[in-house]
Assembly symmetry: C2
Homo-oligomer: 416 residues x 2
């Protein structure tokens, strides 16, 4: 079918308003007798299923699951399960599909027995039950959470052939609701010497991280709700710390103690892990905010292109520095770029969904995305991220991801 | 505990920034030996549960379910299940808890067999498979959906004693994603005589509604995704119409046909139902946009207050006319009002979460909320809504809801 719009970037990438003006994907078919509304399908000939207390996904979507990978041999509950990004759209992650990363499994906490204690360099050490926290005025925000080790496979010498979710699925977004930590700290009264807070979980690993007081008093919350309902156990039930825009490991799940101290604790979880060894032998510690990042989720490995023609190219972008301002997409390996359309709910420290229209001519092509945040940070290339790093240093990876679309419609991971 | 802030409205309602300034709910306890972090609970003494493909809710939250009520005797699948609003926070409704309302149950649709047909007064009748629709550029928005019959119990002569969700739980909010209907209609080509579109579902009732072409070309979408994943069967899998801000029944689930016509079809679903009989015997038809509305979800019937003291009063507000601009809360039966705080993600045609701080003195009190939208519409009283209506006319109810807090901490439904 004809359309009057020409591509704005190489290899068939259109203006972000292409569909609003030209409208045609060319994938519809003229109505045929077989599709006539007069022919009612089997499922219209008898009443359907009744109402239920819980609306579950279709049996045809049973493959849409988290991917547990990387469990450590000989342990239970140590590892991660990743969000299948390539099967999702929008920015909200269904809570059942939110990624999980545990250091000693999911504790079976009795919510009536659990207490959050604030102690250390405070005027009044306090203990909060879930009921006590429920009486404070809450706040909710829609924000991303990304594990520090996400996309770490991208440091491999040869591109790992795996799905988008398997490589980048340690990022998700939810509406997180709870009590501003500043309010609780104000009630306890931080002494002048209190500069850091050691947050520890009620898991068997007592996972612990040191948090600067400034962040705790800024936008940190003690989260009780995720996507409208109580947290699920794999995301910290009954309460977790949530530090918007900062590396996920610091948002300590099953939050049990907040100890105000005068210096960072140098816990095993911030020294043996989540630090960045440089080529000169020095480890960078405390890289807290998540760098600006994006990835194309469709098309991506495991999905298959049909015939040549118009396709949506869609993905997610995010930054710990605030809002996403711009996402560019390339279909010629980075030689030229076109601005993508952004869904209208662009929120601070949240995933932002981007979309472009692309006329695939059926020949091999390399597609990429590049995000810019409101602070002006531009997503770096893989080479720029790895510059100066020691071999094997995989934390804090936010390089540009390239996918190759083959002539057979199969998609693979490439370095470009 | 002391705080330096005085109430700004009668019976102990504080300024919306109370907690940011004064901080104290008075519900925390000084840390005791029993709560000492040195005493590790049982669940910290052994590794916890492993990773899983799906993160389910805690067993302690098993009561957080939809409430199937109102099924018609002798039928299967005719009725509704409501969202338990009083157990939720924030604005996103978990998809399993999104309300459902069916006229002949949930059809078991094979997504590969299903087609959407656009026909009638068009230049090119078209048929779309799910795969074909997936190639168009999508758009996602976070918006509410409210059944036309929601809150209908409020017309009863005496206040119905039921939970907030049982009375008002035919409203939910999700991120809805799919293809702008305008793009598909542009491709089919609406003839000059085409003014209305009959949307029909693939359920056994072939639920049908007439939609003005103007709305279809404005912000309507054919939705494929809800909260990031494919629609669930009880919300229209594999595709539904979604008309932002308009009465829910028009967002036809399991969307099968869109027939462009020159006048409304006067289907059974827009004449025998979803119309408003007036006291003068005339029925008002086609009341499409949802009126401005709010309800306090906590405290509300079924929840119980503890001792006298500071409490959060929280609820949701929404309007089919756009964004919520203001929500006021009263704790003295409507004699005086205080502005509530609004969570920062205030989106057009979406639920908005409001919160106030209230010092309950332990004596009986009547609490209410009143919403104003960006068009200046103010939520009406119950009397104003019922003025001029025939007995039994329960659709399109958006009156102010009052809850009575008893001296025993129990909450009940009252007319005030």
């Amino acid at each position: 079918m004809a359309h009057d719009k020409s591509p704005v970037a190489g290899n068939g990438l259109f203006d972000r308003r292409f569909f609003l003006k030209a409208g045609v994907a060319g994938s519809a078919t003229l109505m045929s007798a077989a599709a006539s509304p007069a022919e009612r399908p089997a499922w219209m000939r008898a009443p359907g299923a009744p109402m239920s207390p819980s609306g579950e996904p279709s049996e045809h979507e049973a493959h849409v699951q988290r991917r547990p990978i990387g469990s450590h041999p000989g342990t239970t509950g140590t590892g991660a399960a990743r969000t299948p990004l390539e099967l999702l759209d929008g920015v909200i992650t269904p809570s059942r599909l939110h990624f999980e990363r545990h250091h000693s499994g999911i504790p079976a906490i009795d919510p009536d027995e659990h207490r959050l204690v604030i102690h250390g360099l405070v005027d009044r050490p306090l203990s909060f039950s879930l009921e006590a926290l429920s009486r404070y005025q809450h706040v909710s925000r829609i924000q991303f959470l990304e594990c520090t080790g996400n996309s770490g496979a991208s440091i491999a010498p040869e591109p790992v052939q795996a799905s988008c979710g398997a490589i980048h699925g340690l990022v998700s977004a939810s509406e997180w609701g709870g009590v501003p930590l500043s309010v609780l700290l104000q009630e306890a009264g931080i002494k002048a010497s209190g500069k850091w807070i050691i947050a520890a979980g009620a898991d068997a690993a007592a996972m612990s991280r040191s948090v600067p007081v400034e962040k705790a008093l800024d936008d940190a919350i003690v989260a009780l709700y995720q996507n409208g309902e109580r947290l699920r156990p794999s995301n910290g039930y009954p309460m977790r710390l949530f530090l918007p825009g900062w590396e996920g490991n610091m948002s300590v799940k099953w939050l049990r103690t907040l100890k105000v101290v005068d210096q960072p604790a140098m816990t095993k979880d911030e020294t043996s892990k989540y630090s960045d060894l440089q080529a000169d032998g020095v480890a960078r510690l405390f890289t807290f905010p998540i760098g600006v990042k994006s990835v194309i989720t469709s098309p991506s490995p495991g999905l298959t292109m049909g015939e040549a023609g118009i396709y949506q190219v869609s993905g997610i972008a995010w930054s710990g520095a605030g809002r996403i301002r711009r996402v560019e997409v390339s279909a010629d390996g980075g030689k030229s770029w076109a601005d993508a359309a952004l869904d209208e709910h662009i929120m601070s420290k949240c995933l932002t969904r981007f979309r472009s229209a692309w006329r695939w001519d059926g020949s091999p092509a390399v597609i990429l995305s590049r995000a810019t945040d409101e602070a002006g940070n531009v997503q770096p290339t893989r080479d720029a991220v790895l510059e100066g790093r020691a071999n094997g240093a995989f934390y804090h990876y936010n390089g540009i991801q390239a996918w190759r679309v083959g002539a057979d419609g199969e998609i693979s991971n490439v370095y470009a």
